[in-house]
Symmetry: D2
Subunit: 261 residues, 4 copies
């Protein structure tokens, strides 16, 4: 039982016997564990701190699992507010984009109350292929997600530069894609993003502006802990350039347009 924003999807669930709350507070009141996964920090704050929001439904023992990807500080604010009212909190952002989500292949990162993680385990098994508990420290799962997405951003930017150069030096980009697909770098990202570059189709599996936002947050995290990130910051600038070229809402692979521009 969860809060569903999309009314059509919601209707199907209700038909199957689900209870539909009129607002976040009501949902939380009627559930033992509530899972939330919304677009961004603003949506999370509205949902939790707004009128008839989550906080008003939380009481001793109620469990709340925040699966949205937001900044660490907001995640900690939400956790504090919920536990202050006797609630139990788990942070659990997911790794993976549209296709893994549809196929139940997400990776779930979790931090917070261990007992709640254990209770959620079967649900996580259902929606993902792997879940990982990172300890009690709220923020740890968000940091992990940013670091993993930072690697993603660097890899795809590096791939884009290679494809751009291939064309300039008279190689067939399909050959590059083929060599990469059979070598030691062969992974879903390299294979799918090479194909996207080849086909010049940038359907947003993972929108470029989200990747760039994640790089920005990762770099700010690096700033906080005094970790220089020469390669990731160069990648970040290339994604900015792609945004300027108008590819913010395209797939991350459109960073190729910045590299080949």
């Amino acid at each position: 039982m969860s809060l569903l924003r999309d009314n059509l999807q919601c209707r199907d669930f209700v038909k199957s016997g689900a209870f539909k709350g009129n607002n976040p507070a009501e949902v939380v009141q009627s559930c033992d564990i509530t899972f939330s996964c919304v677009a961004d920090t603003t949506a999370v704050k509205d949902l939790v701190f707004g009128n008839y929001g989550v906080l008003q439904g939380i009481s001793k023992g109620k469990c709340y699992v925040e699966m949205s990807t937001i900044d660490e500080e907001t995640m900690q604010d939400v956790a504090e507010a919920i536990t202050a009212r006797g609630g139990v909190f788990l942070e659990s952002p997911v790794v993976g984009s549209r296709v893994p989500a549809l196929e139940g292949q997400l990776i779930i990162l979790a931090a917070g109350e261990r007992k709640l993680y254990d209770e959620c385990y079967s649900c996580f098994e259902a929606i993902g292929k792997k879940s990982l508990y990172l300890g009690a420290d709220i923020g740890a799962a968000t940091r992990m997600k940013l670091i993993v997405n930072m690697v993603m951003g660097t890899v795809v930017a590096g791939l884009a530069e290679a494809m751009a150069m291939a064309e300039k030096v008279g190689l067939d980009q399909e050959d590059v894609a083929e060599v990469l697909s059979v070598g030691a770098l062969s992974c879903p990202t390299v294979i799918h993003k090479s194909q996207a570059i080849l086909s010049q189709r940038y359907d947003p599996h993972f929108p470029l502006q989200h990747q760039q936002k994640d790089l920005r947050l990762a770099l700010l995290l690096g700033d906080k802990v005094e970790q220089p990130l020469y390669v990731a910051s160069a990648a970040n600038e290339l994604y900015k350039k792609a945004r300027r070229l108008g590819y913010g809402e395209s797939d991350i692979s459109a960073v190729y347009r910045a590299a080949s521009n």
Copy 2:
């Protein structure tokens, strides 16, 4: 039948019935097709242009397959010299390091005489898992190899920055490695290099100074065709730093020491 530098290995072949030439010229004279794979540009030049060298054994119809990874210009010089004497030339550098070589899992890139490529095909099948003919233009295979290794260099540098940051923000590097190993970036390079970083063992599967040399050559190629490479050049500087720290002869994964320094 080929020129073998290591006498012990050579002895075994001779025992099995192979003919051992006393010098490159003699080897070439006694073979239809000669395969060469040596360390670097200097070795290639010595072998081909030196006294009793390959050129002195080449005559009309003799085939020569250069599998060493060297710069494009030297490759073209060798090709010209051999074809000027009636020889047939194929450029065929390989992608893959020590373990793929031992397991017959190399990728063979070839450019030059198509007929010779076809004749070599069964040999390439024996030593590699994949071969790719890139056209008649000598240099194309070398450029492809540099581009593929440029991606490799960027990926491992990006991974190194991520592992360094993970430690700074209080995450367990083993957890990062695990998440990466099951996600969309899961490939032999990411898996093995994460493990090398975790174990702090940098046995040279692919020596860091070779990776940095390949990045340098790729960047110079980019210079020639006016292709900016912001991310790869940042990665290159990080490998230079690792060399300065004394890791030139260690594995490429030792770039982690530069990132975490």
Copy 3:
């Protein structure tokens, strides 16, 4: 007449006939124009929005000149709060570090109410060598300052790399400094920072961590307007490295330690 944090300095002014307010509100109430210049965003917020703060002293026609360097958003919040109470606001951060301040050689950047700028003009002449009115748009002066400091950060990082390389290639760093001091790049920054690097004395004329903070803010500004900043972002990472090496409170010239490390 202004709020003075340092009591000893304050005493001298009072002896000379100045009125000392007991709190920000009282200072503002007793002055036509109040100038504020404090350390950071937190200090500005306390001063303006705190108990007995500036806002409580503002009434119709009271003028407030904010000379602190803070982020654009806070500057705009302060401006709105003051004008909402009938006050008149001028944003006027200064360019220049310790020595220019002592010598009246600061550059004053201003944005906001033109009439107030004109009234302040004689004061600005007294404390600086140049003032510039950038229009009514609050935030413009802060953006200008960030951009100017971004150039500063890039120049000093570039100088540091050059001095580090000079040593590695067997040149005398004093010779580099001399050539730079007579050539087309000869400016106070290049001259003084070369000397600081030569003498290995990093007395904080402009603390490195402030430079890095300004670079971070400039990069975030670039992010907002989709302006890639490849060179400035590389410089930023080098300053981060210098912070990690423990030079955050040293002069900006200590970025040399990161470059030569």
Copy 4:
């Protein structure tokens, strides 16, 4: 008395009483000290090693001053060839572009035979405002020149990014130029290049492709001595981009077009 490539200029000198040699060998034979300053490595090699070239005119005690900017290795080859024939060699590249050259404001860097430097001193005084002897080690003056030009390249790239950002955030670029011209970064380069960017006129005082070539050589020097150059390499890529946009023969300030693209 020197070899003059431009016949019209040469004619004026001859009218004034100068001797015109028919080839480099003849010039060297008829002079005690010959000064050479030509376009690039190829021109230097032709002049020195070609038919009727410098080497054929060198005899015991003849002095040769190479003022061209070329790579260190060629400089050393030329020095060896000349001294092997009993000649005396001085390497003396100059710092400064078209206007300083016309105004006698060049800086002359010298390395090689000290006695020859002393003999040339009055000539250097005539054509430059400053000369510096860097020791007997041939190559030192070239390395110094590359390092100084590396700083130049970084500074102008940093300036270009700042001017590009200024426009994006709604500031008047003239205001940026004015603030920079009165502050601690005020130097001929910053002043003139700001003006070039403002006027959108890129008359080649120092051609961009030469700046990029110098950056490439400086980075290769850094590679040799294991000196990471994160900022200079980012600048180098930006100049590459400007070359791709067609500004190779424009002034170095046209790097702005790459930054604002």
